[in-house]
């Protein structure tokens, strides 16, 4: 399904000017700094702002075109905001059912039992809203949005107001959402780690314009990616986390490699993402024996980025096509004669399982 958005919206000093056709499926992140127009774009998509001459089309449903404008309550969009937005005069149960009751029976695909089980909020039904924690509130908001069986889920910085611990609690629910609920998700975020953890595709916004639309893999394969902050380039590997092995470590398996993780207990086995800083990856021409680094991956050098500050970023590919970035000194790159196509070993000093 494709979401087409064309809008030009000038407001005081700010101008939003977008014309994109987004293939939807899984999680699409709208990424950019605050003030780049993420929320404005979301409001246009949702129909919360009726911008003149804008065009919003989801699949074969025309939401806005010329004079035709479908109001939000007929669009069937699930909206989750950054701050607590539960209706304060209703119980948890009535909040959850508010949209469900207003969804025509024929269009209900998701039901109370499965949604609340998926989000772990069954026990909260009869609580009053102000006795919920921040994380619980966001989960109830998510559940409430899902129960309208939406065609599109718009999440406006749903984690920004939460502390790290609570974020960790919500992340797994968010990452299962698109898959299990079968709803395409648009996630607004200014936090690279959220995007790396959740997104399949990234729309980079800057000063009200779309810079580019890339898959997460493409977005992470260029060292100048806006996703990278002061930690430098980052790679994300997708694979399966398996249960504890005899050596006390957890295997993380991709189609082309197996990594060993320490400290992954408590995580459910299954699809997971690993975050690897390029500066934690070293390269060797031969398979090194007798070293403490456990994770040694056979990769192929794809290209060596130009030198900057005495260092170069080497873009490597695993056998299954996933990208691994290594940051080494320019001198090392010259000494090892790294050229595109060279088969080398990547030694990964440290990985972080994203939760």
């Amino acid at each position: 399904m494709t979401l087409r958005v064309r809008a030009r919206w000038r407001r005081e000093a700010f101008e939003l000017d977008v014309d994109i056709a987004l293939p939807l499926g899984g999680v699409t992140a709208l990424f950019g700094r605050s003030g780049c127009g993420k929320t404005s774009l979301l409001r246009v998509i949702a129909g919360l702002e009726r911008v003149r001459d804008a065009e919003v089309v989801l699949g074969d449903r025309i939401w806005q075109q010329g004079r035709h404008f479908v109001p939000l309550y007929r669009r069937r969009i699930g909206l989750v905001f950054q701050e607590h937005s539960l209706l304060p005069h209703l119980s948890v149960r009535d909040n959850l059912l508010y949209g469900y009751r207003r969804t025509p029976e024929a269009e209900r695909r998701l039901h109370l039992d499965e949604v609340t089980a998926m989000l772990g909020i069954v026990d909260l039904f009869d609580r009053s809203i102000d006795r919920l924690s921040g994380g619980q509130r966001q989960r109830v908001s998510l559940g409430r949005a899902l129960l309208t069986s939406p065609q599109l889920l718009l999440l406006d910085e749903p984690l920004a107001a939460l502390d790290t611990q609570t974020k960790r609690e919500i992340m797994p629910f968010l990452s299962r959402l698109a898959g299990e609920a079968g709803v395409p998700v648009i996630l607004i975020s200014h936090a690279p780690d959220e995007v790396e953890r959740l997104a399949d595709r990234v729309v980079f916004l800057r000063d009200g314009r779309v810079e580019c639309v890339e898959t997460l893999r493409e977005a992470l394969a260029r060292p100048d990616s806006p996703l990278f902050d002061e930690e430098g380039p980052v790679s994300v590997l997708e694979g399966d986390l398996e249960g504890l092995a005899d050596n006390g470590l957890h295997p993380f398996v991709t189609a082309a490699a197996r990594l060993w993780l320490v400290g992954a207990s408590g995580r459910r086995p299954g699809v997971a993402r690993l975050r690897i800083l390029a500066r934690d990856v070293a390269l060797a021409l031969d398979a090194p024996g007798r070293v403490s680094i456990l994770n040694q991956l056979a990769v192929t050098v794809e290209r060596v980025e130009p030198e900057s500050g005495g260092r170069v970023t080497v873009v490597c590919r695993l056998g299954d096509g996933q990208v691994l970035l290594a940051q080494i000194t320019a001198w090392s790159a010259r000494t090892l004669a790294l050229v595109p196509g060279a088969a080398v070993f990547a030694l990964v000093k440290s990985v972080a399982l994203m939760d």
Binding site: A46, L48, P71, L72, Y73, R74, R76, I77, G78, L79, F81, E83, S85, L87, P88, H89, Y98, G99, R102, T103, R144, A145, T148
Partner: protein, 228 residues
């Protein structure tokens, strides 16, 4: 009963009717108006807000005078009404009802405006996304979350209409059963040196007004809205 004569009861009934109708009409008009006023800042909004607040600062005689001119037999509205076979609005119940609506408008609009501004738009947007149409949103979200504002608006409008005098005297005169409301009747009683009757009615108004304001301020404290 209470030593009141038939003229007194007629005035009480008339006054009550005037206050009730004014309150109902104003709640219907003020709700969308206050919603619009509270949903942004623009020159048009400021201008409308100022116009709505005019009765707070103008002498009631000014308002009554202009209305007499416009609504009377030679006024634009009055003449149009006569031309289509109706009567003009001066010296009639309909006339003072219209005058009361204008005169009491700030007392309905301001509490609602404040209640809507405090409510914000987030809950309403959420309800929209959850499939609630305009009326549905009003009944299930806006009304329960701003009911304090509505109670204050209704009570103040009612009470303020009760205290109206100048406008009615200018526009409506003193026709029993048509425009002779309590405040005008008290004036007439006092003019006729009928102090005892004036005193009874005045005391009633005093007590009623106090109770009304007492209720309003208790609600204000509970809902923390509309400081007036």
């Amino acid at each position: 009963m209470l030593g009141l004569g038939p003229a007194d009861w007629q005035a009480i009934e008339l006054t009550f009717r005037l206050c009730l109708y004014t309150t109902i009409i104003l709640l219907v008009i003020a709700t969308p108006l206050a919603w619009w006023l509270s949903s942004g800042r623009s020159a048009a909004r400021v201008a409308v807000q100022a116009v709505v607040a005019l009765p707070l600062v103008l002498p009631p005689t000014v308002l009554g005078f202009y209305q007499l001119i416009v609504l009377g037999p030679r006024g634009f509205v009055g003449q149009t009404l006569e031309n289509i076979g109706l009567t003009h609005l001066a010296f009639s119940f309909e006339g003072i009802l219209l005058a009361s609506v204008l005169y009491s408008m700030p007392f309905a609009v301001q509490p609602l405006n404040e209640a809507f501004a405090n409510l914000g738009r987030r809950h309403v947007e959420v309800a929209s996304a959850l499939g609630a149409g305009l009326l549905d949103r009003f009944v299930t979200v806006i009304l329960p979350l701003t009911r304090g504002g509505f109670v204050v608006a209704a009570t103040l409008t009612f009470a303020h209409t009760l205290g109206e005098f100048g406008v009615i005297l200018m526009l409506g005169g003193s026709i029993p059963g048509e425009t002779k409301v309590l405040s005008v009747l008290i004036y007439d009683h006092a003019e006729a040196m009928n102090y005892e009757s004036a005193h009874r009615l005045s005391l009633m108004l005093l007590v009623f007004s106090f109770l009304t304001l007492f209720v309003v301020y208790s609600i204000n404290r509970r809902f923390e809205i509309a400081k007036l």
